[in-house]
Symmetry: C2
Amino acid sequence: MRIVVLAGGIGGARFLRGLKQAAPDADITVIGNTGDDIHLFGLKVCPDLDTVMYTLGGGINEEQGWGRSDETFHLKEELAAYGVGPEWFGLGDRDFATHIVRTQMITAGFPLSAVTEALCDRWKPGVRLLPMTDDRVETHVAVELDGERKAVHFQEYWVRLRASVPAEAVVPVGAEQSKPAPGVLEAIAEADVILFPPSNPVVSVGTILAVPGIREAIADAGVPVVGLSPIVGDAPVRGMADKVLAAVGVESTAAAVAEHYGSGLLDGWLVDTVDADAVTRVKAAGILCRAVPLMMTGPDATAQMAREALTLAEEAREA
Amino acid sequence: MRIVVLAGGIGGARFLRGLKQAAPDADITVIGNTGDDIHLFGLKVCPDLDTVMYTLGGGINEEQGWGRSDETFHLKEELAAYGVGPEWFGLGDRDFATHIVRTQMITAGFPLSAVTEALCDRWKPGVRLLPMTDDRVETHVAVELDGERKAVHFQEYWVRLRASVPAEAVVPVGAEQSKPAPGVLEAIAEADVILFPPSNPVVSVGTILAVPGIREAIADAGVPVVGLSPIVGDAPVRGMADKVLAAVGVESTAAAVAEHYGSGLLDGWLVDTVDADAVTRVKAAGILCRAVPLMMTGPDATAQMAREALTLAEEAREA
């Protein structure tokens, strides 16, 4: 079975670990969000790709969900001692190596997709990890700061400001001119199932869908597309998805997110058992729906979520 | 008193610390060798400048003489895990920060002299540290390796090969086209005394003198120029100076090094007490000479060496 998964960072990565456990023989291609990539200290940092790679490759800091295990922060301390920032982005000494290798390869002329493949040669994540695009796409968030309306990089909004001010707009700058990375459209066309993990529907999955050709390829693939709600009980399970949902005029409920994707894209949608009353509304939108436990409390719970998603996909196929 | 010192790495840095103790009120300008600079992992590394900066700024690993104190090597471990080398060059996590800041500034268009000044804003070495040039000069060493004659970067010869094969030639590539960095010729012209610490006469002091204009400015400064022999008892005190001296046809003796600099450049030369019999030969070459203890066994011994050098400079001035 060939499965394509559109993934953001922590939520996507943990879901993928469950999916690998649920479907150990599946051929999994992950299309990773690169809209939150950022250049720091002259280095290209790809937080979402790295979170997937580290999580599936056994190098993740399990507790925080991002960054490396057994990490130290001496380099960052020294940068601060030189007065060189930003200080709000937590790059560890081990993590820096990934960004240095990536930047060297990019500078040498390799596209991000080739670089990601080379990095995965080490981590062996057990999936094929593709960036959504080799082109530069940068998610910017329009905010009002100190009385002034300005656009900040997504990471500045998310990490520095902790989404403490309303997001007035979310713009994947460069997306319109971008092309899907090599292999992305082919993987979608050859997929048996396409999954949207409980990743952020705006700045993770939404950014991937903003790359011209990807949304269309998924809609036209003719295979079940099933998503898992990142909103449980009207609040994001993790992160601050509600803040960016507001920016695109979507309420923070499991049903509203399904409607936001729409039946043109989604065939099935899983909501948490606490949101069982959303099932009727989602079904009314023409999307198969079931309420199951959606808290990734551990590997087994997550694998069970993946199993439920695959089961719903089979139902969608037969429907 | 304005003192100009031409410095390589460890020997030069330690001597400078003694000089600061011996002449606490002196205005010291250090012209640092950049011929052993190297690009590693996409970053510009300046080993000699950094050794001077860390040593005088209190950040040096005292035991090894180079690199940072309280250092860790996690980033390097990770680069090796990615299969990205070279592994033979020991960059620590804290040290990496210096190279990242430097590379960012160079990429932004600042010359190395401005970058060095910015880095010294943090370290406050108590001297004015100038690179010999803002231009790229790279010391290459011609060797026979595996039956083939080839040129290797100085660091590869020194650090990877540990000077285990004969150096057939030492070439400061790019030196002929280089210009002294801003402030270098002015500092020499305004100096009251010019000192050559017990640094490598070929690949440290020799490389600085290879930048067109520097040798001439020193010879024409009309102030005492005094050196300290890096060779004690026919062997280098530290490093492998004998290997590169052979490449330029100079024997590894305190007297031969003085003759190599020559009376056109040197006014005074200190040899170690074990080389007292070299004094006559050096004097015969028209250079004032005295035998004093030249082992930098500690701060006081080193400060005493600096005092002897300044005393010999005064004698040269009166002669």
